[in-house]
Every structure is written in structure tokens, then in C-alpha cells.
């Protein structure tokens, strides 16, 4: 035993020492070796590039592994961004972010605005060569609404008659008013005329599913070799958690418009690393790490665009002192949004003086925000006066303690501290800050346990009502305790009115009411910021929607 152990030990030590001396001696030569290796790999890479001479390959970063490529399941941007390039709905957003004919060549809308009849292109094909038929849409949408699918996106389809009932388990599959009239004609009946329905259809949740493939293999979407799409690109390789490779889809009806031959999607989840990869040329697109914002934001290679969404602070109107409107308004008047956007959040974001972000074009061709930019403002004197009045109304000698809660993150903390400072400076109110892990925080917010809390909203579809309807009575997204009949009515009209101009008027009124009641303090709008390598052109980004590489090019 002892001898055996000793022999084993000497062997191990010999290798140890051997390894040590070689590494020590070979330090300089090691470097050479490494250089040699990298040279070799570079050569190989170059050879590889030569083999595919003239091929245009774009390298992008998806951040993480997509949740799912099942259009009904992957309800997040890491799934829907790539999916938006692998598949296509009836409509697709153009460079002005307006829904245009895509898989559907044209459509008819009935007089009452409720029935849509889509005519699918004859040359619309799946990547395996099958024609895209109306039944594929019916199948996909009913799959999404099936309660057993448990789709997080299902509520987006509630515009369709019978959809909500089926999804909640009360109605039946057959009562969902989506019908394939014939192979290439799809008929959809909506609950109410929905002016933005064509836009909703650009959302990946409404992409078709190849029924034949999906019925044969329910997990068709999980691997590259079983995946079938109908978009500008086709999925050729998918190394989970590592990389996806897309190639141009020759079966795509508009394949002549597609410039890129390949798109490589890395999955790098670290802000600094992806920037370093961009710096060393391994990525063509990257985001700007927060610490480098000041340095990089004004560069020539930076894209800054609007994103439909708002960061705001919710009041809980069921808790003191926020049952009082004037006190809520005082808080809002005390906050200098310009400073928060410019010096705290940075990255080119814009301060929010209203709830609906810019980027929604109305029936008159003008932006929703045009001529109605400011519903709230920064006015310390007004704030002080309102606070005084409010406190008198409630009979307060001293304001009840206020806790401002936010979910833990560096930016949220910085913004919250700034708000805390502004309230102290302008209203002489001492607000206590409290941060919680996201899940704990959002649970508490939902249960109305937080008094004054940070929130964010990113649009699901391109219409002002998307945000505004959060605050109707008992909405799942309400989380303020706010309930106002007039508001509910305005939103109802804002969803169902056939005359678009009137509809927008209702929405403007609703937004004003929300600002007047001051249920939430708008802080800043979101934006999209991206670094682009030289020679990259034609990438479409939308205020609401997902990165589109259909027309992207790289020279």
C-alpha cells in the first residue's frame, strides 16, 4: 500500500515538475507557438472566407439562448428578434414602421371594420418548399389560444372574436372566428373594429406554423434541422447557448430583396464582452456598456432610435398620502425630467412629459405626441403650493412617511436617488428608498403593497391604447388601485371606435385625464441604441417591433 502510494506520488510529481519546467522554459516559445496557432487559425479563417468568396456575413449578438422559436411561446425579445427574421406574418413593418403586405398580398376590410379577409401570396412558401396556406395561420393562432399551450402572448389575440373565451377555457376552439375560406384566403372576425389590427399582425405571436410539420413533430421548433420558417432567412445551425447561423432563404417570396448571405447570432450575455468583441471585429452590432456611454454615444457609428415605452413611477392611491390628487401632482411637479434623462440615464434617452411615447402615427399622418408634447412639467413653486393645499385637504400637519421602491439595478438606483434628492430639494420631503429583487418587487407591486414604485412599460403593439389601457379598473397591469369610470369609458371607445380620428381624440382625452389624476409620474421614454460596424446598412428597427435584417447589407 505504502509503496504503491509512493510510486503513484512520484509519477504525479514527475509530471508536475515536467509540466512546470516546460512551461517555465517554454514561456517565450510558448508565445510563438500561440502566435503560430493564431496565425494558422487566421489563415484557416481567411481560407474559409475565400471559399465563400463574396459572401456577406453579418455577426450579431442575441444575448442569450432564445426561450423558444414556437411563435406562441417565445414571448421575449431574445426569441422574437431572431424569429422575426426567420418567419413572416401576414404583414411586416416597412422602413417607416408601417405595416405592409407580406405573406398576405392584399386584404379586404368589411364595412363595419370587423371582418378582415386576407389573400395569401401564391408564391409564399415555407423553407421546405411547402406553400404557406391559410390553414397554417388558423392552426398557429388557435395553438396560441389553446389554454394548454399556456402562451404568454395569447392576450394579444383577444381582439379576435371568441379568442378570450377559448383561452380562458370557457369557449371552444371552433368558436374562435379565424377561418380558412380556401387554401389562400383567411377570414378573421374581430370583437370590435381595431384600427391597428394590421399592425398587431406584424407581431411574431401571429406568425404561421406549418401545420403538417407541427402535427408530425410537436417539437419542430426546438432544433435547426426540424425548424421550418417562411421568412427572409432560414435556420441552418443552432448550437444551443452558443450560436445560431441563418442563411438567406431561397424559398422566400421576396428573396431578391435579401442582401445578406449569412447571419451569425452569438449569445454573449455580458455587456463589456460584447463591446470588446465589437471592438475586435467579432461582432457587427453591439450595445453601449453603461460606463462607456459618455465616450461613445456621440460617435458616427451609433444608431439612436425611438422605442415605444415609458419609465414611470406609480402611486398607490389606496395608501396614504397618495389618495390625495394634489399631493400626487405636487410630487410630479417637483421632478426635473430633463436632468434625469441627460445626466442620470444618459445614452441619448428623452425625458417624458406625457405617457404615450413618440413614434405612433395617427390618421392625420402626425405623431400622437405632435402638438401635445407636455402634459406634465417641472415647476417647484407649483409643487410646493399643491403640497400645501393637499396636506390641508387631508388635515396633515406632517406628510405620512413615503417609501420609494424600485427593482434592484444600477440605473434604477441612480434614478431613484435623483428623484429622492429632487423631492427633498423642492418639497422638503424625506423619501426613504427601498430596493428589491425583481420578482419580489413585482409581486409586491401587483398586490398593491408598495406605496410609490418604479415601473416600466414596453409596447406590445403600435398603438397608444396599449399603454393607456393598463390603467382601466381592475386591469392586471393597473397596480395603482386607480379606478375611474370616465377613463374606462374613454379607453373602451379608444379601442372600438371605427372613425380613426375620433378614436385618437378619445385616447388623447384619456391620456390627459391620466395626467390630471396623476396616477403615475412619467420619467423618460425608452430608446434603441446600437453600435454598427462600418459598412453595415439597411437594418430596420422599429419603435414597436423587432430588429429586421431583411434589407440589411454589409460592404
Amino acid at each position: 500500500m505504502k509503496k504503491w502510494a509512493f510510486i503513484l506520488f512520484t509519477v504525479v510529481l514527475a509530471t508536475v515538475l515536467g509540466a512546470c519546467t516546460t512551461t517555465q522554459d517554454a514561456d517565450p516559445s510558448d508565445e510563438n507557438e500561440n502566435k503560430g496557432q493564431t496565425d494558422e487559425t487566421k489563415e484557416q479563417k481567411e481560407e474559409g472566407d475565400k471559399a465563400e468568396a463574396g459572401e456577406k456575413v453579418l455577426y450579431v449578438n442575441n444575448g442569450t439562448e432564445p426561450k423558444s422559436f414556437d411563435p406562441s411561446i417565445g414571448f421575449d425579445s431574445v426569441s422574437w428578434t431572431p424569429l422575426n427574421n426567420l418567419m413572416e406574418g401576414l404583414t411586416r413593418l416597412d422602413e417607416d414602421s408601417v405595416a405592409q403586405a407580406a405573406t398576405a398580398e392584399k386584404w379586404d376590410i368589411s364595412e363595419d371594420g370587423k371582418t378582415y379577409t386576407f389573400h395569401i401570396r401564391d408564391d409564399a412558401k415555407w423553407s421546405n418548399g411547402d406553400p404557406v396556406v391559410a390553414g397554417d395561420f388558423v392552426y398557429a393562432w388557435k395553438h396560441m389560444l389553446d389554454p394548454d399551450t399556456a402562451s404568454e402572448a395569447a392576450f394579444l389575440a383577444y381582439f379576435i372574436e371568441g379568442a378570450e373565451a377559448y383561452n380562458s377555457g370557457e369557449g371552444s376552439r371552433d368558436d374562435v372566428k379565424v377561418k380558412a375560406v380556401d387554401e389562400k384566403t383567411l377570414e378573421v372576425v374581430l370583437n370590435a373594429p381595431t384600427g391597428f389590427f394590421l399592425d398587431v399582425l406584424t407581431n411574431p405571436a401571429f406568425f404561421p406554423i406549418n401545420q403538417k410539420i407541427a402535427e408530425e413533430n410537436p417539437k419542430w421548433h426546438a432544433e435547426a434541422d426540424t425548424f421550418v420558417g417562411n421568412g427572409p432567412f432560414a435556420l441552418v445551425s443552432w448550437k444551443h447557448e452558443e450560436e445560431m447561423v441563418f442563411i438567406k432563404n431561397e424559398e422566400y417570396w421576396d428573396h431578391d430583396a435579401v442582401q445578406l448571405d449569412q447571419v451569425h447570432w452569438a449569445m454573449v450575455n455580458d455587456d463589456n464582452t460584447q463591446y470588446q468583441m465589437f471592438s475586435s471585429g467579432d461582432l457587427d452590432l453591439a450595445s453601449i456598456p453603461a460606463e462607456l456611454s459618455d465616450e461613445l454615444i456621440d460617435g458616427d457609428n451609433v444608431y439612436i432610435g425611438e422605442q415605444g415605452g415609458l419609465e414611470f413611477y406609480r402611486f398607490n392611491v389606496t395608501e396614504e398620502p397618495f389618495q390625495n390628487k394634489k399631493i400626487r401632482q405636487a410630487f410630479s411637479y417637483a421632478i426635473n425630467r430633463d436632468d434625469i434623462a441627460e445626466y442620470v440615464v444618459k445614452n441619448g434617452v428623452k425625458p417624458a412629459y406625457a405617457f404615450v411615447s413618440p413614434g405612433f402615427t395617427g390618421p392625420d399622418g402626425k405623431d400622437f405626441r405632435d402638438g401635445d408634447e407636455k402634459l406634465v412639467s417641472f415647476d417647484p413653486d407649483q409643487a410646493k403650493q399643491l403640497l400645501e393645499e393637499g396636506m390641508k385637504e387631508e388635515g396633515y400637519d406632517e406628510l405620512p412617511p413615503v417609501i420609494l421602491s424600485y427593482n434592484t439595478s444600477d440605473t434604477n438606483k441612480a434614478v431613484a436617488e435623483t428623484v429622492q434628492n429632487m423631492l427633498k430639494e423642492n418639497l422638503e420631503i424625506e423619501v426613504t428608498l427601498e430596493n428589491q429583487e425583481w420578482n419580489v418587487f413585482s409581486e409586491a407591486q401587483k398586490n398593491l403593497e408598495l406605496q410609490f414604485s418604479r415601473s416600466s412599460f414596453i409596447n406590445d403593439y403600435s398603438d397608444p391604447v396599449n399603454f393607456l389601457e393598463s390603467f382601466i379598473t381592475d386591469s392586471y397591469m393597473n397596480r395603482t388601485g386607480f379606478s375611474n369610470e370616465e377613463y374606462d369609458e374613454l379607453i373602451e371607445k379608444g379601442k372600438t371606435e371605427v372613425d380613426e380620428e375620433k378614436r385618437w381624440e378619445y385616447l388623447h382625452k384619456a391620456e390627459k385625464l391620466l395626467a390630471e389624476e396623476m396616477i403615475a409620474i412619467p420619467i423618460r421614454y425608452y430608446n434603441i441604441v446600437s453600435l454598427e460596424a462600418d459598412g453595415v446598412t439597411g437594418i430596420l428597427r422599429h419603435p414597436v417591433g423587432y430588429l429586421d435584417l431583411k434589407y440589411a447589407d454589409k460592404n
Binding site: M1, E152, F155, H240
Partner: protein, 310 residues
């Protein structure tokens, strides 16, 4: 010996059961749900999701479902990646973390022991200060700082190594350096202090007096005893490094399993939380067991018994 092993195995199973139960209790106690995304939702959608993942069932049923999943070695689908089973995630991530970890351990142990021996032999001389200087730096610089620094200096400024991702041996160099430095420093300091202790013992003097060669004294007589503390920390070190590290894997975009430990909790991805906990605990328990066995081999004075107080 056999009796000892059997007894240990039984204790291991009980330990694992306690860990699973505690994990379950913690999981249901922390507020939140896997479906709390920042996006819009509504009650119907939430109810469908809860039913789909059996989260609407009473706790005791859920507990039994977990126990069943552990006994059948099938943890079911992940909630945050519904196309993938927990087994798929671990099966894909673990080999990569293991590969990275094993090389890291080898590098750390070899360089740590050598540094430690050199420092001890040249006690209070330049070599000692140098080696301990390196060790102190290694312990005090967090590996994520080192990693970012390495990427900037060796991959971006000079393109000697690729920045990140996992495509071949050259992609391993930087993460290994970043990961190995800390453990190397700990091992170096441990080896040095125990070596110093051992070198003053009578039996070493005796060996010297007998005229044995210095190499033989160091490696046959001194090092063997000096390594005991190193062996002690190897169990936890192995389990920690071989199952992946969240930060380094994130920085270098390595598709290992380290991220699941952290992200599963952030996402309240219950099956993955359970899967990673069971996996890690089982791994750690086995490593500790192997360490105990190794004591017996290295130090004949330590006897492993089936009964306490023998």
C-alpha cells in the same frame, strides 16, 4: 473500510433528501413566480401558465412531484426554456464546465504547489516574497476583474487570443488563467505554511542527518505531509469549479452550467433550481467522500472506521 463506505453512502442519501426538502421549502417561500416578466399579461394567461407547470397544485403534491422527478432522474422541462428539459440543460452545460474546470484545477494545483514549495524553501528571501506577492494578488483580485483585464490586454489590444465564446482550445486560455489564479494563490499559501511547519520537524532533521538528497527529503518526506490541508480544500474546490462559475462563464460567453445556478433563481425556474441544487449537492457530497478516502491513502495514521469512537 467497506462498512465505512456503506455507512457514508447512507448518510449521503439522507443529506441529499434534507437538501431537497429545504430547497423546496425555500422555493415556495420566496415571493414571485416564473411568469413575472416585465411584459404585459393578464389573469387568464397567468392561470394557464400555472396550470401548465403544475404550480396550481397544493404544495404537498408539488413536493411529491419533485421527489418523483429526482428518483427518476428526470427533472422535467425548464420553465424559462420550455423546449429544453432540465436534463438537457445540465447535460449540455456540465461537460463544458467540467472541461474548463478540470484544466483550471490542474493548472491551479500544479502552479500553487510549486509556488508554495519555492516560497517555503527560500523562506524570507526574495523568492518567498515574490511567490507570496503573487499569491496575495491572486487572492485579492476578483476573477471577473482579472478576466476583463485579460480580455482588454490580450484579446483587444493585442490580438493574441479570441475575446470570448467557446470554439476551440485557444478560447480556453484566458478563462483558465482568470479562474485558476485564485485557487492557485490559496494552494500556494497553504503549501508554504505547512511546508515551513513540516521542515522544522524532527523527522526531517533526521532525514537530513542520514544524508538523504534534498529532493528526496522534500518530495518523499516533507511534501507528503504538507499536502494534507491542500487535499482538505480540494473537495469543495473541485465541486465549485467543475460545476461551472457564473461570472467567468458569463464574461467569456462559455455555454457551461454556471449560469443556471443564478439565473434559475432569478427567474424562479423551479425545476432548474431543483435540478442544479440536487446535482451540485450530490457532486459536492461525493467529492468530500473521495477526499476522506484520500486522507486514508496519504496518511496511514488516519483510519477510516464504520463505527464512531473506535
Amino acid at each position: 473500510m467497506l462498512r465505512y463506505i456503506l455507512k457514508r453512502l447512507l448518510i449521503m442519501v439522507i443529506t441529499l433528501w434534507i437538501i431537497v426538502t429545504l430547497t423546496f421549502v425555500l422555493m415556495v417561500t420566496i415571493p414571485g413566480s416564473p411568469f413575472n416578466s416585465e411584459q404585459s399579461s393578464n389573469e387568464t394567461v397567468q392561470a394557464n401558465l400555472e396550470r401548465h407547470y403544475n404550480l396550481d397544485k397544493p404544495y404537498h403534491i408539488q413536493y411529491l412531484l419533485y421527489i418523483k422527478s429526482i428518483l427518476t432522474f428526470d427533472f422535467g422541462p425548464s420553465i424559462s426554456q420550455p423546449n429544453q428539459g432540465v436534463n438537457d440543460l445540465l447535460g449540455r452545460g456540465f461537460p463544458i464546465s467540467f472541461e474548463l474546470g478540470i484544466v483550471t484545477i490542474i493548472v491551479a494545483v500544479i502552479s500553487g504547489i510549486i509556488l508554495g514549495i519555492l516560497a517555503a524553501l527560500r523562506h524570507n528571501r526574495i523568492m518567498d516574497y515574490l511567490a507570496m506577492g503573487v499569491a496575495v494578488l491572486g487572492i485579492s483580485i476578483p476573477n471577473f476583474i482579472l478576466a476583463t483585464l485579460l480580455i482588454q490586454k490580450l484579446a483587444v489590444d493585442r490580438e493574441w487570443f479570441p475575446v470570448a465564446t467557446w470554439q476551440g482550445p485557444e478560447y480556453m486560455v484566458l478563462p483558465i488563467i482568470a479562474l485558476a489564479t485564485g485557487p492557485m494563490a490559496i494552494i500556494a499559501r497553504l503549501t508554504r505554511s505547512t511546508m515551513l511547519d513540516v521542515l522544522t520537524q524532527d523527522y526531517i532533521k533526521m532525514a537530513r542527518a542520514k544524508g538523504l538528497s534534498p529532493w528526496k527529503i522534500i518530495f518523499k518526506h516533507a511534501l507528503r505531509n504538507a499536502l494534507m490541508p491542500v487535499i482538505t480544500i480540494m473537495g469543495t474546490l473541485l465541486a465549485g469549479i467543475l460545476t461551472g462559475t457564473f461570472v467567468i462563464e458569463k464574461i467569456f460567453a462559455i455555454p457551461g452550467m454556471g449560469k443556471y445556478f443564478v439565473e434559475s433563481i432569478n427567474h424562479r425556474d423551479y425545476p432548474v433550481i431543483m435540478g442544479t441544487t440536487v446535482f451540485y449537492s450530490a457532486f459536492l457530497i461525493i467529492m468530500l467522500f473521495l477526499v476522506d478516502i484520500a486522507y486514508g491513502i496519504l496518511d496511514p495514521r488516519i483510519k477510516l472506521h464504520g463505527k464512531d469512537g473506535d
